[in-house]
């Protein structure tokens, strides 16, 4: 499994889905910010992908959540999806 998403991909996803998206690593209860893209929004943070110590959070309204999740899955788990 790939364990990170490139800044290029984060920016592409942020633009395509109109969201703020950021990639994190978990240590204990802490999710530490690694990289992100898209404009900051005062919206709930939704954990859309979680596996082992990797997590992806999104803030956005009216975006296609299922499609975005699938895209993130594909980037973080390319072999399994292929």
């Amino acid at each position: 499994m790939a364990n990170e998403i490139s800044t290029f991909d984060l920016e592409r996803l942020a633009k395509t889905f109109g969201v703020r998206i950021w990639f994190c690593r978990r240590t204990g209860r802490r999710w530490s910010f690694i990289a992100g893209a898209g404009e900051e929004k005062v919206l709930p943070s939704e954990l859309i992908f979680e596996k082992d110590e990797t997590g992806v959070f999104v803030q956005g309204e009216d975006f296609d959540s299922q499609r975005l999740k699938a895209e993130v899955e594909r980037l973080l788990n390319p072999v399994a999806i292929a």
Binding site: R25, G28, R29, W31, S32, F33, G36, V42, P44, L47
Partner: protein, 508 residues
């Protein structure tokens, strides 16, 4: 010889702690970023500003720009009481702009008072034979966490450790895990410590990784004094702490180890307070320029009675003791100089000072504080001079503090949301600098206040608290949808309802 379990004897351990290569790479031409002569020159060369100059500087602060050292030195020259009133008011406005109407609370847990150092002002110093030495076992750490989370209701702690092989990075990591493992049933739900910050010795990158891996909140290390000569005088050269740059660059090492919330501070009363405030600003600027992330918090404890330390109590032998008036000024200057940072005022200070200074920009404070080793479990309600690092000035319980804050319309927050969803490091710096974090602060304060009122408040406190929570919810409603989207408002109210029904730890 003091042997430590199966580890090296303390005297041998000391020789293996400092790794010069881990700070030398940051020195520029062999020098660190605190230039004593330059700082004094900046302080001495500035002249008293007129009101217009002051307002121009305050405007820049209000736009959440880190102040230049020259501007800070200029503000230090203000003498007009009316201008100081403007500065106090601006500091309070800036705090509100960034963190809203909330004060975060926490409790310190003293896990051990063994120390290999000999700092002249500290009750824990190795040569202080009057100090009773103790270290909590992991079970005792859990007992403390249970008392704090289950009886008092705190959700954050700062765990404090002396510099000693008994409380090395492995022990600290185990104790952090122990604290996080505790969950206590409460009146209506359950309570646990959700964020463990630590105040400990400066570690190597390898040791800091161990702390990072168990999910510490903030890593707090104070330089004590930024003035090189004073530092040398107070910290004997044959001790670990005698190495100024090893301590100064510990936050750099923390970033290297992946810890992105670091806290700085100094002990006021060791040297001229104006120099120390400049030192803290230079430290913040250094961290921002190297890592893009400034200090998560700044602390400004004043020296006070410590066992066997004349430096703390005798104005004849210590001309640097900070008066109450100057203390309020220095806190104000720090808020204006590093506007985005969290600022911590502790129960070291007397109640009347805390009540006054808290409102020139502080964001966090402690309550129901016990700084004895194992003090929360013992619950004697007494301070023990021979077991404590210093004496507390304000012994109010958390409930009393919450009530006093509620009477002033302030909401007490138990929020730990930020680092649970990646609002850390440069992400949170961005939010703070854009003034957006306060919106999350407001909502999470409401949710966590609800939890605490339902689980721990007495009748009178609950009544006062309900009024505060009603006012806060009204404000959110008024700002929906201009600031808070309908989706966010609805989610918050849904969480609020669920918490009222006994669910816990829901956050935005």
């Amino acid at each position: 010889m003091h042997m430590v379990n199966d580890k090296l004897p303390a005297s041998a351990w000391v020789n293996n702690v400092i790794k010069p290569e881990e700070f030398e790479k940051y020195l520029v031409n062999g020098k660190d970023f605190i230039d004593d002569d330059k700082i004094w020159q900046q302080i001495n060369d500035s002249s008293e500003p007129d009101a217009e100059q002051v307002r121009a500087i305050l405007d820049r602060s209000f736009n959440i720009k880190t102040m230049s050292p020259e501007d800070l030195a200029t503000l230090m020259k203000v003498r007009d009481p009316q201008t100081w009133e403007e500065m106090y008011a601006m500091a309070a406005r800036i705090k509100h702009k960034i963190y809203d109407n909330r004060i975060i609370t926490f409790a310190p847990i003293y896990c051990g008072n063994f120390c290999v150092n000999n700092c002249l002002y500290c009750g824990f110093r190795a040569d202080n034979s009057k100090e009773k030495r103790a270290k909590l076992s992991i079970q005792q750490v859990k007992d403390e966490a249970e008392a704090i989370a289950g009886r008092i209701g705190h959700k954050r702690v700062i765990a404090v450790y002396g510099e000693h092989p008994e409380t090395d990075a492995d022990f600290i990591a185990e104790s952090i895990k122990a604290i996080y493992s505790v969950s206590v049933k409460t009146r209506k739900g359950h309570s646990e410590i959700r964020r463990v910050n630590i105040n400990a010795a400066p570690f190597s990158v390898a040791d800091l990784r161990k702390l990072h891996e168990v999910g510490i909140g903030t890593y707090q290390v104070f330089q004590e004094t930024y003035h090189h000569e004073t530092y040398k005088k107070l910290h004997p050269a044959n001790t670990i702490k005698g190495n100024y740059p090893w301590r100064l660059y510990v936050h750099h090492r923390a970033y290297e180890a992946g810890i992105d919330d670091v806290a700085i501070g100094c002990l006021f009363g060791l040297y001229d307070w104006r120099f120390e405030v400049m030192g803290l600003l230079y430290h913040a600027i250094e961290l921002e320029s190297r890592f893009g992330v400034g200090p998560h918090t700044i602390s400004f404890p004043r020296i006070n009675p410590a066992s066997g330390s004349p430096l703390a109590t005798d104005p004849e032998s210590n001309k640097y003791l900070v008066s109450d008036e100057d203390f309020k000024k220095l806190v104000t200057l720090l808020r204006l100089a590093v506007p985005y940072t969290g600022m911590i005022i502790t129960a070291r200070e007397r109640q009347e000072i805390r009540d006054d200074v808290m409102f020139v920009g502080c964001t966090q404070t402690d309550a129901s504080t016990n700084i004895g080793i194992g003090g929360y479990s013992k619950n004697t309600g007494k301070q023990e001079i021979d077991e404590q690092q210093f004496m507390l000035g304000d012994t109010r319980s958390l409930e009393e503090l919450i009530r006093d804050l509620a009477k002033r319309g302030v909401i007490t927050s138990f929020c730990t949301a930020g680092y649970r969803c990646g609002r850390t490091g440069d992400q949170i710096m961005d939010l703070l600098k854009k003034g957006q974090e306060k919106h999350f602060c407001k909502l999470n304060a409401i949710l966590t206040y609800r939890e605490w009122l339902d689980d721990f408040a007495g009748e009178e406190t609950k009544k006062l608290g309900e009024a505060v929570i009603k006012k806060e919810i009204e404000e959110v409603k008024k700002k929906t949808p201009s600031i808070f989207s309908k989706k966010l408002y609805d989610l918050t109210m849904q969480y609020y309802e669920r918490i009222s029904n006994g669910e816990r730890d829901l956050y935005i």
